[in-house]
Subunit: 338 residues, 3 copies
C-alpha cells in the first residue's frame, strides 16, 4: 500500500487532491475498485469516468479530474508503465542452474545466469551475465545470448544465432529455423541449405510462438529496440530496422528490408525482396506488394496509401448509386434521339 503522494513521485506527475490517500493497486476504469488508482489514456473510455469506483485517476488532462483525487502527467502510458512496475505481483524468478538442465561443458555461462529445469544448452553456447533461461529452453550450438536477457519456457534457438542484451523472448518462439528455399528441377524441390544466421539486437522483445528463419547466405536481422507480438513470421534474410512494432500474425517474406520505426498492424503480409522506408505504418491485413517510401500510412491488398484506399472504398459505395443514375441518363438520351 502506498499514498497517492508516493505514487505521484513514482509516476513523475503532479499530485491532485489528498496526498495521504491510501492506494492498494491499479484497476481498469470500467471495473474501477475502491482504494485503487485507475487511468484514462484512450478517450474511448472517458464515458466510464463518472461511474468508476476507483479512488484516484491517472490522466494527462487536469480538467478531467474536476474534484477527484489523481495524478496529472504528460504521458499517461509511460506513467502507467511505472505504476504497473511498482505494483507488479511478486513472483520469485528462478535462480541458479537447475540440476536437470543439460549443459555442454564447452558452453560459457557468465555469472548470475539462471537456468531452469530441463533446459538444453549445446556446445559452444555463450550466455551473458544475469540472463534468465526458463524451463525447457533449447539453445543450439555456438549461439550467443547477451546480458540481462529473459528467455521464457520452450524458446528454441537453433545453432549459430545471436541475441542482444536485455532482449525478451516469449514461450514457444523459434529462432533460426531454416528459410523456405528450394531449387525445383523436374517437379522435385531440392533443399537449398540455409547457412546464414539470425542476429537479434538489444532491447528487442519477441512474443510467443513466433518463427524467425535464419539467412540462406548472410543473416536475418532484427534491429535494436524492435518489438514483436505473438505468431509473427520472418522469412530468411529479412532485415528489420530499429524500433519497429510488429503486431500479431504478421508475415514478412524473404529478403524484405524494413526501415526503422515502422509499424505493422495484425495480419499484414510483405512480399519478398521489397524495401520499406523508415516510419512506414501498415493498417491491419495490408498486403504489401511493392517497395514503398517511409513516413506514410498504408492499407489494402494490393497496398495503397490509406487515404487512397479509403477513397476507393467510398467510391465502391457510390457505384451502386452511379448505376442507377446511368440508367436514368440513358433513358433521357434515348428520348432525345426519338
Amino acid at each position: 500500500m502506498s499514498t497517492l503522494k508516493e505514487l505521484a513521485l513514482i509516476a513523475g506527475g503532479e499530485l491532485i487532491g489528498d496526498a495521504r490517500l491510501d492506494i492498494t493497486g491499479i484497476s481498469e476504469i470500467q471495473n474501477g475498485k475502491q482504494g485503487t488508482i485507475t487511468f484514462l489514456g484512450n478517450p474511448l473510455y472517458k464515458k466510464y469516468l463518472p461511474e468508476t469506483k476507483a479512488s484516484a485517476v491517472l490522466t494527462n488532462d487536469r480538467a478531467l479530474l474536476a474534484d477527484r483525487n489523481g495524478i496529472v502527467v504528460d504521458n499517461t502510458q509511460l506513467a502507467l508503465a511505472r505504476l504497473l512496475e511498482y505494483f507488479k505481483p511478486a513472483s520469485t524468478r528462478i535462480s541458479g542452474i537447475h540440476s536437470t538442465a543439460v549443459i555442454d561443458p564447452s558452453a560459457e555461462i557468465e555469472p548470475d545466469v539462471s537456468i531452469g529445469p530441463h533446459v538444453v544448452i549445446e556446445s559452444g553456447v555463450q550466455i551473458g551475465q544475469n540472463s534468465t533461461i526458463e524451463a525447457q529452453v533449447v539453445i543450439g550450438q555456438n549461439s550467443r545470448i547477451g546480458q540481462d536477457c529473459l528467455l521464457y519456457p520452450q524458446v528454441v534457438i537453433y545453432h549459430h544465432c545471436e541475441v542482444g542484451s536485455r532482449t525478451i523472448i516469449h514461450a514457444g518462439t523459434v529462432i533460426g529455423c531454416d528459410g523456405f528455399g528450394f531449387a525445383t528441377v523436374d517437379d522435385v524441390h531440392h533443399k537449398i541449405p540455409q547457412n546464414g544466421q539470425v542476429i537479434i539486437g538489444t532491447d528487442v522483445e519477441l512474443g510467443a510462438n513466433c518463427t524467425i528463419d535464419r539467412g540462406t547466405i548472410g543473416n536475418t536481422t532484427i534491429g535494436d529496440g524492435s518489438k514483436f507480438d505473438n505468431l509473427v513470421h520472418l522469412a530468411h534474410n529479412v532485415k528489420i530496422g530499429r524500433g519497429c512494432l510488429v503486431a500479431g500474425e504478421v508475415g514478412i517474406a524473404g529478403s524484405a528490408v524494413i526501415g526503422d520505426f515502422c509499424v505493422f498492424a495484425g495480419h499484414v503480409g510483405v512480399a519478398p525482396h521489397l524495401t520499406i522506408g523508415d516510419r512506414a505504418v501498415f493498417a491491419a491485413k495490408t498486403g504489401v506488394t511493392k517497395s514503398l517510401p517511409g513516413g506514410k500510412i498504408y492499407a489494402g491488398m494490393p497496398v495503397r496509401e490509406i487515404r487512397e484506399q479509403n477513397k476507393r472504398d467510398a467510391v465502391m459505395t457510390a457505384v451502386a448509386l452511379l448505376k442507377r443514375r446511368m440508367l436514368k441518363l440513358e433513358d433521357k438520351v434515348t428520348k432525345l434521339y426519338q
Copy 2:
C-alpha cells in the same frame, strides 16, 4: 465389433434394416469400407452414397437410406460424435506422476492427477482432481488448473493464470504471455508491465500453438464452453463470451469484448477496443474495424454485413460493363452536339 442394433442404441437413433449386422468401425462415405458404418451429414457428399462400400449409413433423412441398412437420427453430428467415442482407438492415458517431473513442494496436486515426463510445476500451483498434464508442460507460479482438465504436451502456462474444469488445451499453446504494450517516448518503446491474468472458463477447448496474452490490468477471459482452433491469438484484456467458436489463425486485438456464441471463421482479425454483440458470425478473412451488433453475419475488409459485401462484389463485376456503356453513351451525346 458391434451389431447395428447396438450402434443404434449408442447413437440414440432408429434402426433401419438388419439389426444383427456386424459393424467394425466408421468410414468416410467417399472411402467407405465394407463392414463399417458411414455417415451423411453434409449434402455435398450425397453423390458418394450410391457407390459407397460401407455396410450401413448414419443419416437424418430416412428417404436417403432407401433399402440400405442404417440408423436414422435427428442430429447426425451428435450421433457421429457418440459412435466415434465408442470406436475410439485404445490409447493408454498416462497415469501417476512421472519421476522426471519437476514439481515444487508447495504445489497442491489433488488425487488422481496424472503428470507426464519432464513436466515443470512451479510454486503455489493448484491442479484439480483427475486432470492430466502431459509431457513437458510448464505451469508457472500460482496458476490454477481445474478438475478433469487435459493439457497436451508442451503447453506453457505463465504465472497467476486460471483454467476451468474439463478444459482441454492442445500442444504448444501458450497462456499468459505478456500483452503487446509499450509507452513510446522519443522513439524508445518502454515496456508496460502486464500485471493481469488469464482466466479460462470450464469446458473450453483451445487448439495447438495458440497464444493467449495476460491482461495489463484486469484479465483476459475466455467464457465457458468456448472452443478455439489452432494458431489463434488473443491480445491482452480481450473478453470472449460463452460458447464462441474461433477458427484457425484468428487474431483478436487488445481489449476487444466479444459476446456469447459468436463464430469467427479462419484468418478473421478484430481491431482493439471493439464490442461485438452475441451471436455475431464473421466469414473468413473479415477485418473487423468497428463495434457491431450481434445476431448478424459479417464479411469483408473493412467489415460489412455479408449481403452488403456480396452486393459490392457483384457491383464490381457490373462496373466493367458500365464502362463500356459509358463509352457508347459519350459517343452518342457527342454526335448530338455536332
Copy 3:
C-alpha cells in the same frame, strides 16, 4: 578453402576465368566479400553486380560475367544449393540416445537413430534407421517415423501418426492434434472425437510452429515431396498432394482436397470441403471460397483468376475518373434539354 575449378565441378557448371582462384565461402551480391563467390539468380539484384566485392559470380547468363571470374550453370538455384551444402558450417549432429530421454520399452528404435535430451517416446512407437530426434521432441503412442528423418527440438507428434522417410520437421510443429469438430445442441458444443490419423509422405519438409490436425474418420495426408513454411495450419481430413509448396501462415480448412504441385503464397486461406486441381497457384492472401481447376493462377477474396482480379483492381481505379466524366456528361445532357 577451394579453387574456383573445384567449385565449378561441385556446382556442375562451366568454369569461366581463373581456375586456381581461392574461394572461402559464399556471400550475398549486395554484401559481396572478397575471396567469396556470389550468385545472381533474381534479376532484381543485377544492379549490385558492378559494385560487388565478391571474387567470382555464379550465374546462368555467361554475358553477365563479362571479364569476371565465375561459374555458368543452367539452374542457378540448384547450383547454389550444392555450393551451400559444400560450405555448410560444421555442426556436430547429436548422436546416440541421451540418458535423459524417456523411451517406452515397447518402442522399436532402429540402428543409428539419435535421440536428444529430454525426448519422450511413448509405447509402440517405431523410428526408422538413421533418423535424428532432437531435444524435447514428444512422439505419442504407436506413431511411426521413417528412416533418415530429422525432427527438430520440441516437435510434438500425437498418437497413431506416420511420418515418411527423409522428412524434416522444424521446431515447435504439432502433428496429430484434434480437428475442430463439434456437434452443437442447444448452444452446447459437444466434442466430436477425432479418431483418424495424420499420414505424412516421404521427402516432406514442415516449417516451425505448424499445426497439422488428425482426421476425424480417415486421415489428414501430406503427399511426398511437399514443403511447408512456418505457422501453416491444416485442418482435419485435408489431403495435400505431392510436391506442393505452402508458404507461411496459410490455413486450409477441413476436408479440402489439394492436387499435386500446387503453390500457396503467404496468408492464403482455403474453405472446407473444396477440391483444387493440380498445379494451381494462389497469390498471397487469397481467400479460396470454391473448388477450382488446376493449372491456373488465382488471387483475391473471394478468389478469381489473377488476371481477372487485376482487371477488377484497375477498373476500381478507373471508377473515380468515371464519376467525374459522369458529372460532365449529365451537365451536357441537361443543357441539351434546356
